[in-house]
Symmetry: C2
């Protein structure tokens, strides 16, 4: 796969059917544009003004319990609401439909100062257990056909509170990013009675050009079609449709690779690495989904340093995503890093 | 179309086939997250350190002529390169292909201090004339099947130089955002022998809920399926496949509506409104494209004020785009504004 390493080329995303433009020669471009503020402040373990810390009041008026383990609650400013009447609207070329759902916040830890890479494997395992519970409970609710678990980390990724937390938006319709993947996973499943992601991981392990970490159950790698500079994907080696199906051992292995992967991301620029992360998994629409193979992806914007990000703007919005460093270069950088967090070295 | 104004719903984009989640009730959410720096500096008419000002040296070593009208040149750090050998790569589940093309920079004016909304109709007409020329010349080149004209305005939109300028990336393959629209325009054309966009504009003019401005040849409106808070689209009333087909009158009308639309965007928060803008038009692949109807879109990120933007992150990246204010609310805000730029009021 080195044929194109020097020259512009397009790569195909087998999960979404989309293309990405790669311009490996373009990293030489000087940067005179926007730089981000790098936050150097150390956070306290408890912040009396944080509406996610234990025992503090929230903006909606509720008070958090004195939680000791990961804790979830319904978002006080949910973008989705329950029990919205199911309606379709069609007027000439205008098409809309009502949507209903539920939005939750998941605090990863009572300790305000932490982030996933600073938590222990056991603490992360507890987060995964809560994700499992939410996926099952929300997914079992009437009219909830999809459960999106995600995290926005860092203020440049729109995160408005530094307390370690993620979100869950569960809803009636299947979101389009998921639908794209569902369609392609299903087409491959029908043709080969196999998971395209399982076959892909077998190939990646054999090539060993984009693999970052591996344990008995999981692999973390830069996908061949990565869009963001250090976009990373964590995938179970064997097909598992959703996190609810994880065994106890699988859960520990997931926690371990999640910990080490996020530590390495922080180590790239010696900064708490901003990203949006999300888990794509089987819809909860009550149907069998033998085609689904869950995975967690990280979309981090930083490109050149802790303060210079990649902008997905003009060309990327109107034409298609574009990246400057290749997936292989990104993988090599991350592979060379330590599994010990920079703040503890 | 007021049925859903209070409740979460999804709207369908007839040009791309994609859905967007609208959460009208969510604007009440308080914001404690990132705010952008508002630049208050007034720019000089000539900046000796600007590599786009007339007579200055550029980073690549070339020197700009003492240009008096819009001026274009090949980007010194092009993401696309000419004469890359056409090759396909397929290895198991890895698919790639080489890409070639040409990237140009278009300076809108020799005057460093201007932006489109501060330029006269005549000056903007000159910009459109240069776009026309580039579209035709680049499009006529061997192996250039698509010409993407766009502008990134403002440093929060990745613009690295405040001199008024845009870019053109012309390339062999048809970018996927364009391909999506091509497919849907063509399907409608085959079925109705009509442009879906022409029919849509007729309907919007009749409804008059999202129209911002109108003249003999053009309409500017918030599309029903707008994603960005103040996303705006300028469309010729009658089908015109690409800007090369514009008559002299059409060109003046385009310049006029472009000027007034960008003035109103600046007037929303009394700030030079950041955005990415782009023109979608017929591919230059030598085929007839009776289905194409060109249009220019503006994707501006500001949501609440000159310093608080909408983040398209977590849920938006993993599920689908989401917006808080409705297209109708955005249109009402812009409709109420003056056609005189805030700096001249
Ligand atoms: O070419 P520029 O202005 O240096 O770069 C800007 O526009 C390009 C095209 O949209 C993007 O790829 C870059 O991320 C952005 O910073
Ligand atoms: O819900 P929050 O953290 O206030 O908001 C953040 O995440 C949401 C889900 O990705 C986005 O819609 C918002 O734009 C972003 O600021």
């Amino acid at each position: 796969t080195t044929e194109f390493n020097e020259n512009p080329h397009r790569r195909f995303n087998i999960l979404t059917g989309e293309w990405i433009l790669v311009s490996p020669h373009r990293t030489k471009r000087p940067w005179q544009g926007k730089t981000e503020k790098q936050s150097m402040e150390t956070k306290p373990k408890y912040d009396p003004n944080c509406y996610l810390c234990p025992t503090n009041g929230r903006m909606g008026g509720a008070v958090n319990p004195d939680y000791k383990k990961p804790f979830s609650f319904v978002n006080d400013f949910s973008a989705l609401l329950k029990d919205v009447k199911e309606e379709k609207y069609e007027n000439g070329l205008l098409y809309a439909e009502s949507e209903s759902g539920i939005c939750k916040v998941v605090c990863f830890s009572p300790d305000h100062s932490l982030t996933l890479p600073l938590m222990s494997r056991e603490e992360i395992t507890d987060v995964i257990s809560l994700w499992q519970q939410e996926y099952k409970e929300l997914g079992a609710m009437d009219g909830i056909n999809h459960v999106q678990i995600f995290e926005n980390k860092g203020d440049i990724m729109g995160c408005s509170n530094p307390h370690p937390h993620g979100q869950i938006w569960a809803q009636r319709s299947i979101p389009q990013e998921v639908q794209k993947k569902s369609d392609r996973l299903l087409a491959y499943w029908k043709k080969h009675q196999a998971s395209i992601l399982e076959d892909y991981i077998i190939q990646e392990l054999a090539l060993d050009e984009r693999i970052i970490l591996e344990n008995e159950h999981f692999v973390s790698l830069i996908p061949y079609w990565a869009v963001w500079p250090y976009e990373t994907m964590i995938v179970p080696k064997r097909k598992i449709g959703h996190i609810g199906e994880l065994s106890n051992d699988g859960k520990k292995a997931f926690a371990e690779i999640l910990r080490k992967t996020t530590i390495r991301l922080d180590n790239i620029f010696g900064t708490s690495f901003p990203y949006s992360a999300g888990i794509h998994q089987a819809p909860t629409d009550g149907k069998e989904h033998p085609e689904w193979h869950f995975h967690m992806s990280f979309y981090p914007p930083l490109l050149r340093s802790a303060t210079v990000k990649k902008f997905m703007v003009g060309y990327e919005m109107f034409a298609n995503p574009q990246r400057d460093i290749t997936a292989e270069q990104a993988a090599n950088t991350i592979k060379a890093l330590s599994d010990v967090h920079y703040s503890k070295q």
